[in-house]
């Protein structure tokens, strides 16, 4: 009797657990098929109108098509993108909140100088789409037609030429390193500080200062208003800009080892790092959607029309690049340049 009871009990238990298992699996499958079951939010860590915002709005349309749910764009500007980054970290790591931001240099500066509650490792890039290059440019109505004119003017009259720049940016570091390499210093120019790249570009086009140092991508739309003087690239960019690159210029000045050409802003799309481990299916779904969009001719055209890029780098390569650029930026001698005190 006893034995049968035990057998029958364990049989029931086995049956129950199998059934339960089936049900669970079924549940899990539905959960997977259901994601996303409500609208997603794309946080832009900058104000409306800039390149992060414009890109996020283009991207959100295609993303909504891919995922079958609307994607709302929310602007969270302020504090050198710190507020937007903190905002994402405060949201649940459930794959319903994405981030579009300029990771480099802001995440590095947030972490190293602003006492942020996160580190750059807490963000997982889905794709880094836009690696900008710093450029020196002036207005077509300005006084300088070439980088040599500009350098001559700065050395002849130190402290009289004005430079528009965002103070906590790769552009600022690049400008400082360049001036020091050719025997000048940032103290020889009048540094005029702006809150964002957009303001610097407006200032260049409006001839509000003698020259600006700012990412080149956003200047392409106003190329008829500006005079390109030099790009901070390791190779010539002659297909886009009729201007020399920094290594060429320092070479003419007999500089043998130029410290470092920092890439300009690096922008892209991010999720919580935890999403990758805790919700691998959702993470995979998002990666797939971003990859499809990057290969969708319609999406590529929509981006190119606005001088935005959407090339597929993928999460692994993106993470590697992000951390590598973070490391080269996080040197004390570079951070000191962008630290206000």
């Amino acid at each position: 009797m006893n034995r049968t009871a035990t057998i029958s009990f364990s049989f029931k238990a086995a049956l129950a657990s199998t059934l339960g298992g089936i049900l669970l699996t079924a549940g899990a499958t539905t959960a997977l098929a259901d994601y996303p079951e409500r609208p997603l939010t794309m946080v832009v860590a900058a104000g409306p109108g800039g390149s992060n915002d414009r890109a996020a709005r283009v991207m959100s349309n295609f993303l909504a098509e891919e995922l079958g749910q609307p994607v709302n764009v929310v602007n969270r500007p302020g504090g050198g993108n710190l507020l937007g980054h903190e905002y994402l970290r405060q949201q649940a790591a459930d794959g319903y909140t994405l981030l579009r931001t300029t990771a480099i240099p802001y995440m590095t500066i947030n972490q190293e100088l602003q006492g942020a509650s996160f580190t750059i490792e807490d963000f997982q890039p889905l794709n880094l789409v836009d690696i900008d290059t710093s450029m020196i440019a002036s207005s077509t109505r300005g006084d300088y037609d070439s980088i040599d004119d500009l350098i001559a003017a700065i050395s002849d009259n130190p402290g009289s030429v004005s430079m528009g720049v965002q103070p906590t940016s790769s552009d600022m570091i690049n400008a400082t390193l360049f001036l020091e390499a050719i025997g000048l210093s940032v103290d020889d120019v009048r540094v005029v500080t702006f809150d964002g790249g957009g303001d610097v570009r407006t200032g260049v086009a409006g001839n509000q200062f003698d020259f600006g140092v700012v990412g080149e991508a956003g200047l392409r739309q106003m190329s008829s208003e500006i005079e390109p003087l030099m790009t901070f690239s390791r190779e010539p960019m002659s297909d886009v800009w009729d201007a020399p690159h920094v290594l060429e210029v320092v070479d003419q000045h007999g500089v043998e080892d130029y410290p470092h050409v920092l890439s300009g802003s690096i922008r892209g799309y991010f999720v919580h790092y935890e999403l990758m481990e805790e919700e691998p299916e959702r993470y995979a779904r998002l990666v797939e959607a971003f990859e499809n969009i990057a290969n969708n001719p319609e999406a590529i055209e929509a981006h190119h029309e606005q001088d935005l890029t959407i090339d597929w780098m993928g999460p692994e390569a993106s993470r590697e690049m992000m951390l590598q650029e973070h490391e080269s930026l996080a040197r004390p001698e570079f951070l000191q340049i962008v630290q206000p005190d």
């Binding site: 109108g49 504090g79 206000p340």
Partner: protein
Amino acid sequence: MLDWTALSGAFALLGSDINIWLVIIPGLIIGLVAGSIAGLSNSMAMALCLPLTLYMDFLPAVMFLTAIFTGGGFGGAVTSILMGIPGTTSAVATTFDGYPMTRQGLHNEAMGLALMSSVIAVFIGYILLMFVVAPLGAWVIGLGPGEMLMIAIWGLTMIAALGGKDLTRGLIAGGFGLMLGTVGMNTSGYTRGTMDIPFLLDGIPVVPAMMGMFAASQLLSLVGNQFIISDEGARRADFRRVFAGAKQVLKVPFFHLRGSLIGVFVGAIPGVGSSVGNLIAYAQAKRTDDDPESYGKGNPKGVIAAESANSSSEGGSMVTMLALGIPGGAGTAMLLAAFTMHNVTGGPQFINNNMDIVYTIILGNLAQVVLLLGVGMVFLAVAGNIVRVPLTILIPSVMVLAILGSYAITGDVAGPITLFVFAALGWLMKRYKYPVAAAVVGLLLGRMVETQLIRTYQLSGGMELQYFLERPIIITFFILLVLSLLQPLITRQIKQRWGRKNLKAGV
């Protein structure tokens, strides 16, 4: 200055699609409602409606959003006038005379004044835009920090205008507001006064703070009342009296035109916008009036000056957006986003290649204004009933809306917290007779003044005189500023010298 081929192309485009016309009235209504709810701004309404425009063609989409823009620009006046709580930063000066008019039972007239002033001003703004869009766009982005500083200081003269008899208290309140306006990270990267609270890095959220201060001070002055208007007969919404108010605007065309021109010009400068224009126009009107003491007590001209400037700035703000693809504020940024969604790229090339579309947008907006007059009248007939609600119901309802609105602005609890802190502050200020409005003006302008002052200092190599001498526009602005400040003195001198008789004969 007009491109006739493009203009006739624009008429053809306007006639090509009935949808362009169908979206205007819904847009106006959405804007009016959003603008008149404290804390919901027209740019927020535009952002919410942006996804809808995906399902429209390009021109209807733009027309829909500009209709919200236009409706919202006027909607802000409704709460300012009826409750003395500006729903948007661009309607602050509207409260100064609009709300006293309501307390006197003249709310119908005040709203008629505001509607007519807004309608004519939007019209003037777009007419000007039609002629000068390209040259004005190129000119305003050339305005550097020095020029912007002059404009910001011009706005600050408002503080003196608000002091009234007790100038010292006005200046203290204004200075306090200015200091509050500098909280956060400034343009050169320094952080001040944030008390390690992250959301303050971007400064004190202005709209919740402003709503809190105004709401607290207005509610305090209502203690012991059962209705906003004590005379029961005066509470009725009366079309004839709205019309009478509207007609009053037509009697002072040049006075109105000055407010409109200030609005267009100030609105055209990227990053300045309608709130500064609203303040400057009011201060200017009060300063140059024969009877400045009557302002702030329900002078209809105060409403006209304030509403003409904030409405005409809509046309102004479109200047750099259309001519250069540079959005001057959140509203135009939304329009630019709509351009993007329809794969239309803004920027200098846009206006060069698509002048007909630019004209279509302008002409469509002129038509919107005419419709606003009709839609606005109906809307006012409904909104005017607010004064008939007993305060025991009205005050809690306003509080709930203000809390929701402030939450919507910041997206988290930071908004409501700011609202409460500033409500307490506003109550204290009112209690000790400091003008709340002066502190709000300081808060609105503090950041702009500081930012432009820093940049001017940097650009001029530490305020070297030579920099200013090479900039004729800064000098012109400076002279205009001094003249406008001295104008009351000068006119008084002239009057005294010429004697009263001569002056009367001259008039």
